[in-house]
C-alpha cells in the first residue's frame, strides 16, 4: 500500500521551478532516502507533504488524504531542516507543548517524553533551557518531538546534519527500529553513506525533477557502483541534457 503518492507535482516560486513534475510513491514500511544537490527541491517537496502549501499542479496524497487537513497529519512525525525551537523552554516543556498540539493527554505525554529524552541522549540536559543547547542537542530535541506521538510516517529533513558520530549511529538505529515496527520513513539527506546503509530505496532529485530511483539492492548489484557513483553519474547526465 502506498503511504505517500505524488503524481506530476510541480511548484514554482516566481521564475524558480522548485519542484517540476515529480511523481513518486512511498510504500508502507519502506525507508526512502531523498537525495539531491542544494536547491534541488527536497525541502519544498517535504513542505507540500506536510500541507504548508499546495502544489501548483499535480496531485499529492498521504494515506489517500490531503495533508492540508489536520486529520491527515495525525500520523506524521516531522523533523525540520533547521532545528530551532523555543529558546525559553526546556526539552520536557517543549515536548509537553507539542504533545498538547497532538491532543495527547498529559500523563501520556509525560511518559513518552521521559522515554524519548532518555532515548535521544538529553536526559542530563532535560531541565536546561533550549537557549543553552548546542546545534546537535537541538537536533536531538527535534528527533524527540518528531517521534512523540508515535507516528506511522516519519518525514525527516536532513536529520543527520549537525550530529556527532555517536548520535548519528543512534539515529541510524532508531530509523531501522522504526522500520522494524512497520513505520514508513522518508528522509532527505546529503549523507550518501548513511542513505546507502539504511534505505530500502533511494530517489535522486535534480532541479525539481526525479532523475533516478532505485533500491539499495540496485546500487549494490550494479557492478561495483555505489551510491556516490550513481549520484555523480545522474548529475552528469542532467548536466549533459542541459547543455545546448
Amino acid at each position: 500500500m502506498d503511504v505517500v503518492r505524488l503524481d506530476g507535482v510541480s511548484k514554482a516560486f516566481g521564475a524558480v521551478r522548485a519542484v517540476d513534475g515529480l511523481s513518486l510513491s512511498i510504500r508502507q514500511g519502506e525507508v526512502l532516502g531523498f537525495l539531491g544537490t542544494n536547491g534541488a527541491g527536497k525541502t519544498t517537496t517535504i513542505k507540500m507533504l506536510l500541507g504548508f502549501f499546495r502544489p501548483d499542479s499535480g496531485r499529492l496524497t498521504v494515506w489517500n488524504g490531503d495533508p492540508c487537513e489536520p486529520a491527515t497529519r495525525r500520523m506524521i512525525g516531522y523533523m525540520p531542516e533547521t532545528a530551532y525551537y523555543y529558546p525559553y523552554l526546556n526539552v520536557r516543556e517543549l515536548l509537553a507543548f507539542y504533545g498538547g498540539l497532538c491532543g495527547m493527554p498529559k500523563p501520556l505525554v509525560r511518559t513518552r517524553s521521559d522515554e524519548l529524552v532518555e532515548r535521544v541522549g538529553l536526559a542530563g540536559a532535560g531541565s536546561r533551557l533550549l537557549r543553552t543547547y548546542s546545534k546537535g542537542m537541538l537536533q536531538r530535541a527535534g528527533i524527540a518531538q518528531a517521534l512523540l506521538h508515535d507516528p506511522s510516517l516519519l518525514i525527516l529533513d536532513e536529520p543527520f546534519t549537525g550530529l556527532d558520530p555517536l548520535a548519528r549511529i543512534q539515529l541510524r538505529d532508531l530509523i531501522l527500529e522504526q522500520k522494524k515496527l512497520g513505520k514508513t520513513v522518508f528522509f532527505s539527506s546529503h549523507e550518501l553513506s548513511e542513505a546507502e546503509l539504511i534505505c530500502d530505496r533511494v530517489a535522486i532529485l535534480k532541479q525539481g525533477a526525479l532523475v533516478w530511483s532505485g533500491t539499495v539492492h540496485d546500487v549494490a548489484g550494479d557492478g561495483q557502483q555505489n551510491l556516490e557513483r550513481i549520484f555523480l553519474k545522474m548529475l552528469g547526465d542532467v548536466a549533459r541534457k542541459e547543455a545546448p
Partner: protein, 260 residues
C-alpha cells in the same frame, strides 16, 4: 478533554510561559511598583483634590502599562515563529490553523489580563490604604471594562502582526489605541471642523476605529461616582467581543492562505 481544548491549552500556555520567562513583565511590575509606592506613601494632608490627583496619575499609569503589555505580547505572537521557523514543526502537528490562531490569541489575552489583575490589585490596595475605601464596585467595573480593552488590543496586535513588521505594527496599533482613547469621543466634532479629505478620514475612523474610550472608567473611579448599570457594561463587553471577532476573522483569512 477534547483534542481541540488540549491544543488550545497548549498554545495559550506557551504564550503565557513566554511572557513570564522573558522577564519583560517583571520589568513592568518593578517599574510600576517604583512609581506607585511613593504615591501610596505620599499623604496629601487631607486635601481631597490632591488625593484625587494621585489616583488619576496612578490609573493613567495602569492604562499605559496595560496597553504596552497587551500590544507587546500580541505583536510578538507570530513574527518570532516565522523568523526562527518554529512555525514548521508546529503546523506539521495535527492542528488546524484556526486553532493555532485562537490558542495564541487566548494566551496573549490570558497573559495580559493576569498582569492587569496585578495592577488593579495594587491600585485597590493603594486607595484602600490611603482613603480607607476598599475595592468599591466602580473599581470592579473599571477592571471588567479594562479587560474588554485588552480583548480589543490583543486582537488588533495579533491581526496587525500578520500584515506588518513588529515595529510598524507596534507603532500603528499604539497610535490607533492612544488616539482613540483620547480623541475617540470627539471624532464627529473633529470631522465636522475639517476640510473634505480629513472629514472623510475621520468619519471612517469614527465608524470602524476601535472606540477605546468606551472602556475607560477612570474619571468615575477617581471622582468616586456611582457604578454603571451592568447592562451598560455588558453592552460594552459585547462591543469588545464583536470587534475582536472581526479582527480575528480577518487574521484567520490571511493566516489560512499564508504560504510558509
Amino acid at each position: 478533554m477534547s483534542v481541540r481544548v488540549l491544543q488550545l491549552k497548549a498554545l495559550a500556555g506557551l504564550s503565557v510561559l513566554e511572557l513570564y520567562r522573558r522577564k519583560d513583565l517583571i520589568v513592568v511590575f518593578v517599574l510600576s511598583a517604583v512609581i506607585l509606592l511613593p504615591l501610596a506613601l505620599f499623604s496629601p494632608f487631607g486635601l481631597s483634590g490632591a488625593s484625587r490627583y494621585v489616583n488619576e496619575l496612578a490609573l493613567l499609569l495602569v492604562w499605559l502599562f496595560s496597553a504596552v503589555i497587551g500590544l507587546g505580547v500580541s505583536v510578538r505572537l507570530f513574527p518570532p515563529e516565522f523568523e526562527s521557523r518554529t512555525i514548521y514543526p508546529m503546523l506539521a502537528k495535527p492542528v488546524a490553523r484556526g486553532t493555532v490562531l485562537a490558542g495564541k490569541y487566548l494566551g496573549a489575552l490570558a497573559a495580559s489580563v493576569s498582569a492587569l489583575a496585578v495592577f488593579y490589585l495594587a491600585f485597590g490596595l493603594l486607595v484602600g490604604l490611603r482613603q480607607g475605601v476598599w475595592f468599591p464596585m466602580i473599581l470592579l467595573q473599571a477592571f471588567v471594562l479594562h479587560v474588554g480593552f485588552m480583548v480589543v488590543v490583543t486582537a488588533l496586535g495579533l491581526t496587525g502582526s500578520l500584515f506588518l513588521t513588529p515595529s510598524a505594527n507596534l507603532t500603528v496599533c499604539g497610535l490607533l489605541i492612544v488616539g482613540m482613547l483620547f480623541f475617540g469621543q470627539r471624532l464627529p466634532a473633529l470631522a465636522a471642523a475639517q476640510p473634505l479629505p480629513g472629514k472623510c478620514a475621520l468619519t471612517v475612523l469614527h465608524w470602524i476605529g476601535p472606540h477605546m474610550e468606551f472602556f475607560d472608567l477612570r474619571q468615575r473611579v477617581v471622582h468616586d461616582w456611582p457604578a454603571l448599570g451592568w447592562g451598560v457594561c455588558a453592552a460594552v463587553l459585547a462591543y469588545a467581543a464583536v470587534y475582536a471577532a472581526v479582527c480575528l476573522a480577518l487574521a484567520r483569512c490571511v493566516f489560512d492562505k499564508k504560504r510558509f
